[in-house]
Structures are given as C-alpha cells and as structure tokens.
Point group: C2
Amino acid sequence: MPDIAKRFPENPILRPSDVIPSRSDLEVTCLLNPGAFRYGGKTGLLIRVAERPVQRDGIVSTPVIDPREPSGIAVVQFDLNDPDLDYKDPRVFLHKGECFLTTLSHLRLAWSDDGVNFKVDPTPSLLGYGDLETFGIEDSRVAEIDGVYYLTFTSVSPSGVGVGMASTSDWRTYKRHGMIIPPHNKDCALFTEKINGKYMCIHRPSGIDIGGNFMWLASSPDLDHWGDHHCLAKPRPNMWDSKRVGAGAAPIRTERGWLEIYHGADFNNRYCLGALLLDLDDPSKVLARSQEPLIEPLADYETSGFFGNVVFTNGHVVDGDTITMYYGASDEFVCGAHLSISEILGTLGQNV
Amino acid sequence: MPDIAKRFPENPILRPSDVIPSRSDLEVTCLLNPGAFRYGGKTGLLIRVAERPVQRDGIVSTPVIDPREPSGIAVVQFDLNDPDLDYKDPRVFLHKGECFLTTLSHLRLAWSDDGVNFKVDPTPSLLGYGDLETFGIEDSRVAEIDGVYYLTFTSVSPSGVGVGMASTSDWRTYKRHGMIIPPHNKDCALFTEKINGKYMCIHRPSGIDIGGNFMWLASSPDLDHWGDHHCLAKPRPNMWDSKRVGAGAAPIRTERGWLEIYHGADFNNRYCLGALLLDLDDPSKVLARSQEPLIEPLADYETSGFFGNVVFTNGHVVDGDTITMYYGASDEFVCGAHLSISEILGTLGQNV
C-alpha cells in the first residue's frame, strides 16, 4: 500500500458473522468503528454493532428502541415502492421527510491477549437508553482518565444527534452522564489529562447554512459540562478532507505536541485518516496538518462493503512509538494497523 | 387585535432612524429583538442594531468584521447579476455556496424612565469580537442573577452560529465568557435562579437530517459550562409553531410553574409567540403549552417591514402580574406590549 499504515495481515479482524445478534429477530449487518483501550492485561475493543431485521424483498425495515413495546424494540417498515420513501443511502432513508437509520447500533466489548485475535462478548455492553437514544448509540471513543474509562459516543434519536457519555471502572457496570454536547454533534474525543486545570475535548458540530462539519475544541471543569468552544479545523478545498472532518480517538501526547488522528471525507464520501498536531499548552493552536492521508481506503475490505471507500478510526492503544490503531473499514469490518508516531511526525511540516 | 397582548399605542417605540450608525459609512437597516432589564431605576433595552453600507443599484454589499482592516470592517460586495449569487432572502445570501448575512449586527443600549420612551446610546455597547463573531452578535437575552447581568446572544461567523455570553454589573464594562454552547445554536435563555443546585437554560440547537429546530434544556455548575441536555419542545404539525420554536427571555417563576414565552414559526416563516409552562422543580416536564399564539403579527408594523409577519421576543420586565414585553416586529422595529401572567395561565390547560 502506498500509505504509511502497516495493516494487520489478518484484516479484517472482525466481521459481522463473528458477532451473535442481540436478539433472535435481528441480524448483525455491520461492525463499525471501535473504541480501544487496555484493561487487566488485555486489549479491549468497544465495537459498534449495527443490526436490523433480515430484509425481505420489496420492504425496508429497521428497528427503533421503544420502551412501550414488550420486546423493547419496535420495527418500522415501508414498501420500497412507497412514493413517500426516499432511500438513496445505505445508512439512512427518509419517509415523508422523517429520517430513519437503516440499522440500530449498540456497543459490544471484544477482548484480546495479542491485540489481533479478539473474542466478542455474546451480549451487548451498552444499549441505547432513554428518549435521546431511540435510534441507538454509535462510535464510542474510550479515554482513560485517572483510572476511570470515559466513553463518549453518538446518541441518536428523532430529537437529534448529540454526544452521550458513560463511565466505567470495571467494564461491567456503567454510570450514565447524559448528553454532554447537544445536537448536531458527534466525534467527541477527550484529552486524557487536564490542560491548564481544565479537561478538554475535540468535538464535531455541524452548521446550518453558515458553518459546516468542522472540528471544535471545548473545556470542562468536570467532564460533564462543556464550554469555551473554539473552532479548531475545517475541511480544505480540493483536498482529501474537503467536505468534513472529525476527531478520531484521544489525542496522543508527543514531544512536539498533541497528535490527533482524524478522519476527513471528500465530496465523494471517501473517508481517509490524517493527523493534526496541536500545541501542548494551548491545543487551540494547530501546529501542523497532514497534506496526504496517513491511511486511505485501498485494501479490498476498505473499498467495498456496506458503505465502501471508508476508513474511520476512533480507537487506538499506544506503546512507546507504536500506535496500534483499530478502524472501521467500509462501515462493515473491524481492522487494525500499526503506525509509528515518529514517522507520522516526520510527515508533518509546519503547515496548516 | 384578536390576541391577548395589549400593544403599546406608541408602537413602534424605536425605528432604525432613531439610531445613530456605528460608523459614517454604514446605515442602520433594522432594529431587532431587544433584551430587557431594570437597572438604576430605569428600564434598559439591549437592542440588536443591524447595519450595512447604503446599497447601490445592481450591487449587494455587506460588512464583515475583519481586524486586518484598518477600519476593523471589510465590505464584501457582489454584482446582483453574478450567476454565482443566490439572493432570495432579505436576511442572508449565498455566493458560490458560501453564506453571508446582508447586515452586520451589534448590541446597543437604550434607556427609559417610563418603559415606553427610550433614548438610544449614540455608540455600540457590544460589538462582535474575535474569530467567532466576524458576522456579528444578535438577539441578546439579559438575565439578572445574584446582582450580575448575564447576556446570552448569538455569535455568528463562517465557523458557525453558536451562543456567546458576556456579563456586566454596571453596563459599562463587560466580561466575555466565550462561546458557551457550540453550533448550530441560538435563542439561549438563562433561568434567573438555580434549580436543584444547578443553573439552567433553554437553548435551540438545529438538526441535520435527524432532529430539527427544537427547544432544549441544559444545566451548569457555573453558567460557563453546560451539560445534561434534554429535548424540551418540538414544533407541532399544522399549528402556528409547525416549523421552528425557540425560547424568548428568561422563564418567569409563577405559582403554577416556570412560564416561558417562546417564538414559533410556520412554514411560511410567520413568527408568533406562545407560552410553555414548565414544572418548577423539574423544568424538563412541560405542563402546558399554548394552543393559540399570545401574540401574532397583525398590526401593520408587524406584517410589513424588512422581513414581514414576524413578532419575536427575547426581552421583558415583570412587575407583579404584569409582563412588559419588548419585541421585534418585522425584523425592523422595536415594539412593546403588556401581558397579564394570570391571563396567560388562564389560556393554558393541561395540554402539551
């Protein structure tokens, strides 16, 4: 591959068929975008598992969390010939202007001794909960701060798309912190230490008419409440990140600055990963930014699948100079790759 | 008028011609949506003053704050025949997909002894500041909390539209608190006392595809950092608030609950005002909601102007049962009306 990521030869390391559905009436359609962490000598992944009913000819059906249903889930379905149906994207569709996801996502743990071979838990770890997550939870980052793991994920419901948070110390019991950043927002990565006495995060609001899919920085006294928002990075015209950008996992402290691996997409919805280098004392200062992607969809499992031409990361573990990055490929598979911090820094001039 | 607002006979109480432009090369195009408060025995209004260069035939021109310019402002202009120009709305236009406002807004104080006759300060009180306000600041709510006045306004720049905050104790010096709620957000009204140990506010994010222009509730330990976001109220199909809703000024404590006067617009962009009644101990519980508007655009100054068919409030002062509500009419004039709290409560059944 012409990019600098050293993909695992075992890729994809997890496929939908490796995961037991959460319910007998659903199938696992996709695995996406795992958070990653170390715990008890193992590498853990917190995978987004996207499910739906087995699709029948001529019908689109999708599950929605509904506590009023005895099973906890209602299945919404429409005839594909329904003139009120607008179904052009495998991920979302519209009916009479109302938006639905094609799948319902929960978060599922997987564990590995070697960081490559993972065993997926048989049941969900975190399900959508309450009226702000009836369309599920997605793409969890995991940040270990003072011995507690903080999970920041996308909470989706007809009320909007925002950032939810949960925390755990044992990966068995979870404390819910509610929605910490309001719609429209996702891709929230916490810094793993305080800077100038404040917790910090990168998040990704979206604009209406004015603004866009930009990365922003915020600070907090307690991780639950956020303020002092600043715009950090925007898409760049005619480059690989021309349409949208968003944070990956927690920024990595290096001698030269905070290294943030982020995703960028162009107007063909081709998702690549690059790096931002942020000032150690004032992360609102962008010191450098990748001209070329660190990794782009090139392998067959990255170019074709549920939603092809996507590499997307929100999880890594770091050991010295080595980043073991886990990533979603084609919105369907979990993959891994090694990156060298010094090699990434070598690609970063003083350009922004 | 068939609604229950008792409009001032003197309406409009302020017009663009009553205000001295902030610069000799600009004209005051509109006065909009004042915050309101009492200070030193007077009623104060914090008016949004929208300015632009005198428009020449065949050209649209608009000011943008630009610290690189000696004058602090750059004027952007386009030929009205430019095929890349999309100019259908008097408030905003697009050029090559980039969005501009037609005017630049600042905040200006006006003072009155009787609440009806106001004298406008000759110079701006607060101007857009920094890179998140290059398109100006708009629609400030004023909440007095423990002797300090907190101003929450809309900060607009190409980075997006979010909620900025400033505070003052003397209406001469202001402390800037930065952007407290990130894009896309506006219409932020602070509660004037803590509830269950937390400050609270109503704000108005917007959704992309999923979600919409809904009112949300949030809480804060310090007014600067916000979390625990909950969706509070959505537009109602086929009603006067079918397209968008947003908070007015600070909720008013009544025996039956927090009374919030809010704006709603329909798909014709006709803006009316109604009321929400929220539980005193848990404002996320909506106890009642106006079926019919409390005030709708009926007077000539409300139906025609810069952007007609708009009544919009974000400022009031309360004296016993009487709300003296100040409002923007047709995005051009400042008006006033009296409302009775008991009369409003009488219109509110236990309906949501």
